[in-house]
Amino acid sequence: METLYKHIKGDKAIWLVVLFLAIASTLLVYSSIVTLAYRHHGGNTFFYLLRHGFFVFAGVGIIYLVHRMKYTYFSRLAQLALYASGPLLLITLLFGVTINGAARWLNIPIINQTFQTSDFAKLALMMFLARRISQKQPVINDWTKSTVQIILPIVMVCGLILPADLSTSALVFFSSLVLMFVGGVPKKHLLALIGIGIISLTLVYGVGKAFPGSFDRLDTWISRIENFGEGDSKGNYQIEQSKIAAATGGFTGKGPGNSTQRHFLPHPYSDFIFAIVLEEYGLIGGLGMLLLYLILFFRCVKIVNTCPKHFGALLVFGISFMLVLQAFINMGVAVDILPVTGQPLPLVSMGGTSIWFTCISMGIILSVSRSLELETENVKSGKNNVVT
């Protein structure tokens, strides 16, 4: 334990949050895959538990490995990753594995594991933005020298994600916007960017309306957005079941494994896992999960504000904000304050490789945190000159 503790560096609160979320994830997924297990594995829930357990366990390993890396390497990596993500997204869009009419998945040939390229791309983009915004600090107020340079990768990534996955595209776009805001990009430029976003969305919406059926997903979004807050539709069936889960859970919940709504919710193990939290663990459980993410974000904001370097600060902020925002969007959908989207709850929802990308994000945050700790230690022991 002593030795293990020695090896684990970085913010301990964040490590604890990861630990709690991993435990919660295992419990929730095990409870909610019953229907899925019946459909595909003759009721063998253990199969899914093992698979999910493997992903979570390996994920923690990934966090550990990544957090031991020097975070300045990520600046260089970010560049490579971003250049790679463009072609990857394009390939996915054209040849990817289609699930529910959305080509979001790419099969990694040798290990035969599908992964969502947007998971990779959004992380790459955040890292790259942190790098670019920090580089452009001296000319941050210049439109052509700075803002345009920052906007271009955003437009590329969001544009390539958009056809298959509106919500992720919006999430990435909004996170980029907030990162730019924090990074000091002038507000006028941000407004212009918002304008671009709105115009492109309207364009896509117009295409969908004008040529219904040309893009499966387009019809889905249009109906979802149009139906949000309205009467009955398939999306509202999901929402109603989710609301029933919240209402029947009560203050303390039905207890682990006692969900009944898992049989009605279409994706109780991912998109609607927060409904299962509310049903089995009640208001208390929901509040606890919310607080875990708030604590995570708070610790990250702390890191941002102690980090002497722009890159490190923006890196932590961009990644953590996107992660927590995604979590809140997932929860917001489950309680019907947002329209139905397919965002999983980071670190909690079942979903193989997506967990790993979240773990890489956590690893990067902890890596920054670790180097901060190292610096303060060095300052204390007077070795400051060695580093600089």
Partner: protein
């Protein structure tokens, strides 16, 4: 850094916004739980749990020999969800052609192209509950489950099956109306209706939880009420006699293009109905069981009722068999109406027995009118005491009411009595007439016609139906014996002499009535052809009656309308069949005619080792093609017997034609089939052809001769 402070400010600003987001989420949870909670909790109750009916299995209806007359068999409705989650464009269009081809193979009424179009449209329309086919049987279901796409099941292949129980009559038309039906939204008919309570059982209830869609899972065993399966009904119907009766009736009806007809055969001592057939001509000329005439149609019976007239006269000691009666010249005036006898010129002076045998209307009318004319109610009361005015009270709904006019009736006139005496101005159903004749055959004891022997459950008798005596003695022993003598005379030298038979004697009475049915009056068809009801009612063997039977054929349109010519042959055909197959009447002779022309006795096919032992013992040379098969077919030649291998694949029905019953039963039952034997000797035919796949538990019928 210049803007370090402002970065900090901006990050905390964003953090503050995220906190607001968090508060709004938790606030909404609170609203869902405490403000809107009740409505959603109610919805949860409704949608997730419910008491579901568990349908009880309806009991079977059996013939007396245990053959199934009606049973519930599962039928399946197959539906398809072409837009099920897992069916992508590639999967759908990749498998569409082969699926359409397979469907066309099983349901050729639509071409593969039509099937393809139908499925394609269903997908385009997102018809998530598209009907493929209703009422398919289990074998078809097993096949369809193997079709491309469908074999992936409910979630991956969009394949849905709904089971329903369908009532099936394995012998279709046989006694169809008497077996009847019990359907929703229509009046139950026949035994299905009469015993619906016993047959249908009690459906159970079970608290179930919905899993997904329409899949329900029981919550626990404690909450449920077990369904109680229905009882089985063992009827008195004899399948073989029923078959003969139905066929004989059909042949005769077709020959005479009759409107409708019925046959009832009853066991004398018990009143058990062995056969009951009713056929009605359909528009296109075929015949169908659409109404139970034997039970429901109450008409003027005609001459068959003369038996009751004479019986009354015997009881009051007015006449005797040898008394002579003047039937005159064939015409007799009663008040304003002339009565005719069918024989031109009349019968003249004849005995009472002859009067009955020749069916003279004038004779019976004069006897009754002259003796009861002053006190007609006395005659009517005689008939009442014989039970002719009572319904039989059978369990099948819709029995026609008999009608015997009372002398106090306002429509009673001077000609009522003479006309009543030979079967007019009164109404009886065929079954009521039969019951009366049966009483005469039974020594005066009138028993109630009985359709059901017992009610069984799980092979145990729940209730046995006892013979019910309606009237222990309708007349004195002497009167009955006189009546029976007259009935025998009818066949011996009277109107039904065409029914005389060498092996056994039939006793009975012909009847030919002009039809006064509200549907077609006294005239039928084009308006000129007279319409008649020809009947024959009697029993056999005459000396020791075992069975009574009535045949009624209505409105024969040909000129042949006399009871003996239309109804008689049907009676005879049925009687012959019953007589030849009933051991209790006449022991059956065993025919034995080996046709072998070779010096070597003919051998059946069978087990090689046994056959070889026998041939060795008899020193018969054998020639075998090979020695690896356990079972062989034999070919008997002039000098030797040739053995040919008769092997078959595991799970395929073997060829047992030419074997004896013992070997065949051994072989077939080992393969999992249930064997039923018909006849004796060597197997000539097997109901499931050799080489077909064995369905475990299926019945195979072997015909031997």
């Amino acid at each position: 850094m210049e803007n370090e402070k402002s970065i900090s400010k901006r990050t905390y600003f964003v953090y503050f916004l995220m906190c607001l987001f968090a508060v709004s989420i938790i606030g909404k949870v609170g609203i869902l739980q405490f403000v809107e909670g009740e409505t959603y909790r109610e919805k949860a109750q409704k949608s997730t749990m419910d008491y579901r009916d568990i349908e009880a299995v309806r009991g079977n209806i059996y013939a007396a020999d245990g053959s199934l007359l009606a049973t519930s068999i599962p039928r399946y409705e197959v539906r398809f969800d072409p837009v099920a989650e897992s069916i992508t464009e590639e999967i759908f269009y990749g498998l569409l052609d082969s699926l359409a081809l397979s469907l066309n193979g099983l349901f050729p009424d639509k071409s593969a192209q039509q099937w393809k179009g139908e499925l394609e449209n269903a997908r385009v329309d997102s018809a998530r509950y598209h009907l493929i086919r209703r009422r398919i049987n289990y074998t078809q279901l097993k096949q369809i489950k193997q079709f491309p796409l469908f074999r992936k099941g409910r979630f991956k292949g969009g394949f849905m099956v709904i089971q329903e129980n369908h009532r099936d009559r394995p012998f279709d038309l046989l006694a169809a109306r008497t077996i009847g039906y019990d359907r929703t939204n229509s009046q139950p008919v026949g035994l299905e209706g009469a015993y619906r309570k016993e047959l249908s059982g009690v459906s159970g209830k079970r608290l179930m939880q919905r899993l997904s869609g329409n899949v329900w899972k029981p919550i626990s065993d404690e909450n449920e009420i077990e369904p109680e399966d229905g009882c089985d009904l063992v009827t008195t119907i004899d399948l073989n006699i029923q078959d003969v009766a139905e066929q004989a009736l059909l042949d005769q009806l077709e020959r005479h293009k009759a409107e409708h007809g019925c046959v009832v055969l009853m066991e004398v001592a018990t009143g058990e109905v062995r056969a009951i057939a009713n056929l009605k001509r359909q528009e296109e000329g075929s015949y169908y069981e659409s109404y139970n005439y034997a039970i429901g149609e109450s008409t003027e019976p005609g001459s068959t009722i003369k038996l009751a007239s004479y019986l009354a006269a015997f009881e009051d000691d007015i006449i005797d068999l040898e008394d002579s009666v003047d039937a005159g010249n064939g015409k007799y005036q009663f008040y304003d109406k002339v009565m005719l006898d069918s024989k031109p010129g009349g019968h003249g002076k004849i005995t009472v027995e002859q009067a009955f045998a020749y069916s003279s209307n004038i004779a019976v009318a004069r006897i009754i009118n002259e003796n009861y004319g002053r006190n007609p109610q006395k005659f009517v009361d005689r008939w009442y005491s014989m039970g002719l005015n009572n319904v039989l009270g059978i369990e099948i709904a819709g029995e026609g009411k008999p009608f015997i006019k009372s002398a106090n009736d306002s429509t009673w006139s001077g000609i009522t009595l003479p006309w009543m005496s030979h079967g007019y101005e009164l109404r009886q159903t065929p079954l009521q007439i039969l019951t009366f004749y049966n009483a005469v055959a039974n020594g005066g004891k009138m028993v109630k016609p009985q359709f059901v022997k017992e009610i069984r459950k799980d092979g145990h008798t729940v209730r046995a139906v006892e013979t019910k005596v309606l009237n222990p003695s309708i007349a004195s022993r002497e009167s009955i014996s006189k009546a029976r003598k007259m009935l025998e005379a009818v066949v011996e030298y009277g109107t039904a002499s065409n029914l005389r038979h060498a092996d056994y004697r039939i006793a009975g009475k012909t009847g030919t009535a002009q039809i006064a049915n509200k549907d077609y009056g006294y005239y039928h068809g084009e308006g000129l052809v007279r319409s008649y009801q020809a009947s024959f009612c009697g029993y056999f063997p005459a000396e020791n009656p075992k069975y009574s039977c009535i045949v009624v054929v209505n409105a024969p349109s040909n000129q042949v309308y006399y009871g003996n010519l239309v109804a008689g042959p049907i009676f005879k055909e049925i009687a012959d069949k019953v007589y030849s197959t009933r051991v209790e009447i006449q022991p059956e002779m065993v025919a034995s005619a080996p046709e072998s022309r070779t010096p070597i006795p003919v051998s059946k096919n069978g087990y090689r080792r046994d056959l070889q032992d026998i041939f060795d013992f008899l020193s018969i040379p054998i020639e075998a093609r090979s020695y690896d098969a356990d079972w062989v077919a034999t070919a008997t030649g002039m000098e030797k017997v040739e053995l040919k291998d008769a092997n078959w694949e595991e799970n395929l029905v073997p060829n047992v034609v030419g074997m004896d019953a013992m070997d065949a039963v051994y072989l077939l039952e080992n393969q999992g089939l249930v064997v039923r034997l018909k006849g004796r000797g060597t197997i000539k035919n097997q109901s499931i052809s050799a080489g077909r796949r064995v369905l475990w538990g299926e019945e195979i019928v072997l015909e031997l001769s």
